[in-house]
C-alpha cells in the first residue's frame, strides 16, 4: 500500500542535515525512545517544509500537538537540552 502522503523527495542538497543529526543524536541519548525526541523530529519536518521537500501542513495534524504539561519533564518545554 503506498504511503498516505506520498513520497519524500530526496534531500540531495543536504539542506536539513543539521536537524536530522540533532534528532538522531537525541535518539541515541534516550535509548531510541521516539516520544522523547518528538521536538527534534518536528523541527526536521518543519525544515523540510521550508525547503520545499515536504508538502506544507500543520504539524499538529500529524500528531505533533503542543502537549503542555504532558512532556516527560512535567513542564512545558520547547527544546530538550541534551
Amino acid at each position: 500500500m503506498p504511503p498516505e502522503k506520498g513520497i519524500f523527495p530526496l534531500d540531495h542538497m543536504h539542506l536539513c542535515d543539521l536537524e536530522k543529526k540533532e534528532y538522531l543524536g537525541c535518539l541515541k541519548t534516550v535509548g531510541h525512545q521516539s516520544e522523547k525526541c518528538r521536538d527534534f523530529s518536528k523541527k526536521y519536518l518543519q525544515c523540510r517544509m521550508e525547503k520545499n521537500l515536504m508538502a506544507k501542513q500543520d504539524l499538529g495534524e500529524l500528531g505533533f500537538k503542543e502537549r503542555n504539561g504532558e512532556t516527560p519533564e512535567g513542564k512545558p518545554t520547547e527544546r530538550i537540552d541534551n
Binding site: M1, P2, P3, E4, K5, G6, I7, F8, L10, D11, H12, D17, K20, Y23, L24, L27, K28, G31, H32, Q33, S34, E35, R38, S41, Y44, L45, M54, E61, L62, G63, F64, K65
Partner: protein, 284 residues
C-alpha cells in the same frame, strides 16, 4: 372407400391409444382438438409434446375424412417425427402458429439482449459495490475504516486514547543482487508508543562510478501487524537517482494505530520489523 378408411383407422389407432393413455394422467385436460400451441404453454412442458401431437392426430382424424390417401400418409409420417418441428398443419393454422412462434422468438431475443446489457451493467457496478461491501464488513482483511492518518490522529486525540504498550520498531535494509549501493538503516530501532507519529532514517550510498537509479519496496513483519502500521510518508516505490559516490538520507515517517492494543490477535506483539529492499532500475 370404406375399406381404405378402415385401413387408415387401423393404422392410426395404436398412436391414438398410446397418446390417450399418456394424456390421461396429464394436468391440462381440455378440448384437445382445438388447443393451440399457446394454450399448451401453461401446461407442463413435458406434456406439450403429447398435446401438440394429440392435436395433430385429432386433426389427422379430421383429415382422414376429407383428404386423400397420399396426404394422409404424409401427415402420418410427419407426426412420427419430433412434433414441434412437424409441418403437417393446414394453411391457416400453420401461418398463425408460425406468426406466434415468430412473436415468441422476438420476445425471447429482446429478453436475451436485455439480459446481456444487464449483465454488463452488473459487472461494472460490481467493483464499487464490492469495495463498499468489504469496507462495511471487513471481509478478507480489508481495512475497515479508510480514514486518513490525520483523521485517525484527530480521532484518537479527541478520544484521549492513552497507549500503554511500547512497541520496538526495528529496521532492516536490503539491496538486490547487482546493486552497488550501500543501504543501511541509520538507527537500528526506535521505541514508539502506538498513536505517536515517529521519524526514522535510512542511509544509502552509491558506491559505483556511474549514476544509478533505484526503487525500493518495503514490508512489515509480522504480517498481521501490518494493518496497524501506517506510513505517512517515505521514499518507497519511486525511482531515486544517486550520483556516483553520493550519500543520502531517506526518511520514513510512520504511525502505529492505537487500535493495535485492543486487537486480541496483537497480544504478544511488541516487535515490528520494517524492512526495505532497493532494486536497480537503470544504470547510466
Amino acid at each position: 372407400m370404406t375399406w381404405s378408411r378402415l385401413g387408415r383407422r387401423i393404422y392410426l389407432s395404436p398412436y391414438l391409444r398410446t397418446l390417450q393413455n399418456a394424456s390421461a394422467g396429464s394436468r391440462c385436460l381440455g378440448s384437445v382438438s382445438e388447443v393451440s400451441s399457446y394454450k399448451s404453454i401453461s401446461c407442463n412442458i413435458g406434456f406439450q409434446h403429447y398435446f401438440t401431437s394429440t392435436r395433430q392426430l385429432s386433426r389427422l382424424d379430421q383429415e382422414l375424412n376429407t383428404k386423400s390417401f397420399r396426404q394422409y400418409f404424409y401427415s402420418l409420417a410427419s407426426v412420427s417425427q419430433n412434433v414441434k418441428s412437424s409441418r403437417a398443419t393446414s394453411g391457416v393454422r400453420h401461418f398463425s402458429a408460425h406468426a406466434s412462434k415468430e412473436k415468441k422468438s422476438q420476445k425471447m431475443l429482446l429478453y436475451l439482449t436485455g439480459l446481456v446489457f444487464g449483465m454488463v451493467g452488473v459487472t461494472y457496478a460490481a467493483v464499487p459495490l464490492y469495495r463498499r461491501f468489504c469496507q462495511a464488513t471487513g471481509y478478507g482483511g480489508t481495512v475497515q475504516r479508510r480514514e486518513t492518518v490525520e483523521e485517525k490522529i484527530a480521532r484518537h486525540d479527541k478520544e484521549k486514547t492513552v497507549a500503554s504498550r511500547e512497541i520496538v520498531v526495528q529496521f532492516n535494509a536490503d539491496i538486490a543482487d547487482g546493486m552497488p549501493w550501500k543501504f543501511i538503516p541509520t538507527q537500528r530501532q526506535i521505541r514508539v508508543k502506538p498513536g505517536e507519529s515517529a521519524l526514522a532514517f535510512y542511509t544509502a550510498e552509491n558506491k559505483s562510478s556511474t549514476p544509478i537509479t533505484g526503487v525500493s519496496t518495503y514490508n512489515v513483519t509480522p504480517m498481521k501487524a501490518a494493518v496497524y502500521f501506517n506510513k505517512i510518508q517515505c521514499f518507497c516505490f519511486e525511482e531515486q537517482r544517486l550520483l556516483p559516490g553520493e550519500q543520502i538520507d531517506m526518511p520514513v515517517f510512520f504511525y502505529i494505530d492505537p487500535e493495535i492494543e485492543t486487537d486480541p490477535r496483537m497480544d504478544g506483539i511488541n516487535n515490528i520489523i520494517l524492512s526495505y529492499t532497493f532494486f536497480k532500475v537503470s544504470e547510466e
